[in-house]
Amino acid sequence: MIFLFIIVPLLLASLLPLLGKISKRFLPDLLASATMLFLLVLSVLWAKPLIASGGVIQQAFWFGAPLNIRLLLDGFSLFMLFTISLISFAVTLYSINYMEHYGAKANYYALLLVMIAGMNGLVLCSDLFNIYLFLEVAAVASYALVAFGQGPDELEASFKYLMLSAVASAFILLSIAIIFGLTGGVSFGTVAQGLTTLNIKYVVGFCSALFLAGFGLKAAIVPFHSWLPDAHPSAPAPISAMLSGVLIKVSGVYAMMRVFLNVFGMTPALTTVLTVLGVVSIFVGALAALGQNDIKRMLAYSSISQIGYVVLGFGIGTPLGIIGGLFHLFNHALFKSLLFLNAGAVEQSTGTRSLDKMGGLAKRMPLTAATSAVGSLAIAGIPPLNGFWSKLLIIIALVQAKMYVLAVLAVLGSVVTLWYYLVLQHQAFFGKLNENWQAVREAPFWMSAATVLLALLCIVTGLVFPFVIHSWLQPAADVLGKGITVAMNFIGF
């Protein structure tokens, strides 16, 4: 059954180009949204009870015959599956209206579904080489989606993304090759056991550095971030939301943390490197965002900054830090997707992404302005919205770990975040209505429905955060907290 998370989107993606010949809009819209809703329901109602007593490894079957495919579902992978499905569902709803003017909707959904299948495969596999492979599945689909508009900017951004991503893949593959040479296997269990018996900490350090550079490039943490401010704004808005909201977290943060915490085991050196890179990312991203005039570019720099918080939380390595990192990962997926979708609505209505030329849009687009205000306040960490609690948890974890300087810097980073989001809100939505926008109208129904859904989730997650932590984050944090014993438990399966 777990295999459905990979095979359903892949199968639908193979059918969509054909179905697109029969129905250009209705069938692709319906099937893509229905599939994402199905996967979301599957992750909540079916997969959640499955891991009640810990992680499971499930073998896939093909017409009754067992296949040599074993999928690992535990608290961490389920948490990621749920996040991917939730954001993908909102994005497919939004795409119903937004992708109208791009044309080739069936192809667009097919690529989106392949990207989702790649991400689902990545979080469900229990093998380093599979991580690399599914990383590539998601990445190849995302290159095409960034360039989907076919304009010169889109193509340039996609090419830059492709080149840097290829470098990241090369680092990751080299590290996997060295580990395979050392341990004779690539499954998490074999590698974890092999590395503990071999006692070769310098080689592991070298491989960790390669993984850090590779996954760091995918996650766009500083200094590996240069591709993101081009790639994410150039993509169509729903894809920007998917890339910033989910892809950088799955192919960067998830893969890195799974390898570092569950396969290699966290070391004091890694803690230092991750926390420092986290704080540097927070500031570089935030200060760069402050100087932007292009709304989507500002959001892209903000992603670098917020990923910094996530990496900082994981880097602390304490149970509270990990919960904070996971919570911020989920929250950032919600509010950054929301903000990118809103930016797309504004761009579609006005034809510009330049903040200078906006102004007073709240009068014409009240729903977009309101949901954007929720997203901005949430990402800036204003209570009682979700971003406040996750940042608070990370800061408390820093104080508990006696990293006082980093705690102060994290608070300062949040202040800068509030600053540039107030600038964004003020320039785009408040003040006097720019006379060019007299005829501008609110975003169409499905686009508004997606943004309202995400805004409500930002509010509700903030209000019921103890429930979210207890039911979704704690099982994931438990898996990461157990370290390499998680991988060792699966040897022989």
Partner: protein, 175 residues
């Protein structure tokens, strides 16, 4: 013999990167790939060698040369010459790191005791089945990417695809 092959591989790879002529670059890459295939053969990785020769040296080179032949007439783009200085610098730095780290590293690698043994077909079909799903995914993504990016329709000469207003933010965000 091994050293000779390695030098050939590195030399032709550098030539592929530095060459100003796309055709020469593609051919250098093919030659580098043949050297790599020979190394694979000598190291008993016969299947890797066959794939390297047939796919990289053969098929991909044909595709490259066809594409170059179709686009040759345009040209006239002046490129920065910075890479002529920067590339050798990086290459030298990497070579030094390689000399210092790799020998020690490779010395640590024990004789291969792979849990995944058997014939090529057995490994691929029976032991690495999940990789096949991933490979199908990658090929699929590639095909769909070609379908999506080479679709007819949207013209970008005016860059004004959106309803109302003027599309002006796209051009001004490149430093």
């Amino acid at each position: 013999m091994h050293l000779f092959l390695m030098i050939g591989l590195v030399a032709f790879s550098i030539l592929a990167v530095l060459s100003r002529d796309l055709l020469r670059s593609a051919i250098s890459l093919a030659v580098a790939s043949v050297f790599l295939a020979l190394i694979f053969f000598r190291m008993n990785a016969v299947y890797a060698g066959v794939f390297e020769v047939s796919v990289v040296a053969g098929l991909i080179t044909v595709l490259f040369i066809t594409a170059i032949a179709l686009t040759r007439s345009e040209g006239g783009v002046t490129e920065s010459k910075r890479h002529l200085f920067i590339f050798p610098l990086f290459f030298a730095a990497l070579a030094v790191i390689d000399l210092l780290v790799m020998k020690k590293l490779l010395g640590r690698i024990p004789a291969m005791v792979s849990s995944e043994s058997g014939t090529f077909g057995q490994v691929l079909w029976n032991q690495r089945t999940f990789d096949l799903v991933g490979q199908i995914g990658v090929i699929f993504a590639g095909v769909l990417a070609v379908l999506a990016l080479f679709r007819p329709g949207r013209s970008h000469t005016g860059d004004a695809p959106l309803a109302g207003g003027q599309s002006d933010a796209k051009g001004d965000h490149h430093e």
